[in-house]
């Protein structure tokens, strides 16, 4: 086996296919993870007692449950109660549920950091509670939450590899299959590692750019 041939004919095509699946997992999970995270943080902060408690319990439950276990429940457990998900769907749902719980904590922290005067001034202008949240609290809180949220996004990139445990052949899984077949563990896993590193580095740069884009003089970053 020629190393050059192995890389161009086998490794790169396999990892490319895996990468596409990984990107699909991330692109589908991240936006909903963010939206649900915002929803949970708002429910916890501004909801009534019941809603607030539900959100709190949700976060405790997700934090306390290994993601892999959550994925197993979604994929292997749910069919017994009549809900059958594809491996891909179960993975995306699991990632969203997990991502949202952690995101909600970053956002809640950022909401708490918005000064009281901001809400008081908004109320004094006649804004409703929802308008205060949408126009004043969230725009400030989300800016401050960017570093935390980007951290969670980077985790998502890496824990998307757990989808392999549900038979989704994403980047890590594709690497594992090639490595086993050709008995080339070091080469393959180092290659896979480089791809993840590239993804994370790209994200870091993109977030840095985003932070600059939305920066407001006098507010943090």
């Amino acid at each position: 086996m020629e190393p050059a041939g192995f890389i161009t004919d086998i490794l790169i095509p396999a990892l490319s296919q895996g990468l596409v699946v990984t990107l699909q997992l991330i692109v589908l999970s991240a936006p909903f993870g963010l939206l649900l995270g915002i929803g949970i943080s708002l429910g916890r902060q501004y909801g009534g007692k019941n809603l607030s408690n539900i959100c709190k319990l949700y976060v405790i439950f997700i934090k306390g449950c290994p993601l892999l276990l959550l994925l197993f429940i979604l994929y292997f457990g749910l069919p017994s109660v009549g809900i059958t998900l594809t491996a891909f769907a179960a993975s995306v749902i699991g990632f969203i549920l997990c991502n949202a719980a952690y995101n909600s904590e970053y956002i809640r922290g950022a909401i708490l950091s918005v000064k009281d005067g901001q809400t008081i001034a908004a109320q004094a202008l006649g804004m409703t509670k929802w308008q205060v949240i949408r126009e004043v609290v969230l725009p400030q809180a989300l800016r401050r939450a960017i570093p935390g949220l980007s951290n969670e996004f980077i985790y998502l990139i890496k824990y998307s590899s757990l989808a392999y445990m549900l038979t989704v052949i994403e980047l890590s899984g594709a690497g594992k299959l090639v490595a086993t077949k050709y008995f080339a563990y070091n080469e393959v896993f180092i290659a896979v590692g480089i791809v993840y590193l590239a993804l994370v580095t790209f994200t870091t740069v993109a977030v840095h750019y985003l932070e600059k884009r939305v920066a407001v003089p006098g507010m943090i970053h």
């Binding site: 000064k115 005067g117 901001q118 008081i120 001034a121 908004a122 109320q123 004094a124 202008l125 006649g126 804004m127 409703t128 308008q131 126009e135 004043v136 725009p139 400030q140 800016r143 407001v216 003089p217 006098g218 507010m219």
Partner: protein, 272 residues
Amino acid sequence: MWSKKELPSRASGQGQDSPMKDDAFVLRVEDIHKKFGTNEVLKGVSFNVRKGETIVFIGPSGTGKSTLLRCINQLTIPEKGRVWLHDDEVTNSGPKISYFRQKIGMVFQNFYLFDHLTAVRNVEIALLKVKKMDPESARRQALYELEQVGMKGWADHYPAELSGGQAQRVSIARALAMDPEVILFDEPTSALDPELTREVLEVMKKLAKSGMTMLVVSHEMGFAASVANQIIFMENGNIVEQGPPDALLYDPAYVRTRKFVGQFADLTQRKD
């Protein structure tokens, strides 16, 4: 400036001489009680405000002046007592409070400009979202209001880029943009150094002259002496004495008032 409304000249004097019917009052405050824990901050405060009047609240710190202002627009909910804007009750008004807050503007000690918005966005945001104005008119009005307070040139600057005096003038423009009937000023110059205080007081004086109804909590005795129609002296959650500046500052009826006002004798002696 502020010629939007035709208002009676203030030169004619609006003392307490002529008995008026209730509907002559823009704002009526009746028996306001407020406690924080066991600390009773307001112990039954009542007063009425006529259209175009400037009332300045004076008194030692911690006597409930700011809390009183906040009870008027229900940012703080009093335990007891009622507030009326004309014939509509502001207290216990449920969701209608949004309407009353548009009609009762407020300016804060620490400005409370929205940190993430430029000056012009600060002024127009409530026009857009609360008054549902179209973006073009909102922008036009926001720029007009900024012009009135001499801040048009700073329209695209963020609050952090403004001096305290500039920020306070923007916050006055923000309150004015809603076209309120009354503006509450909660120690508007207490966070400012003397020079910046003067530029804010200038704006407030012009506003008072234009006929705006204003309730001002302030330690600026010079402002009170020259601009107020009424001064209300508060202590320990009660109104001790109330009257036109001439009487209250120069010839107070109560010893407590005399004592308090006496501290500012050098400021109040000269009248402009």
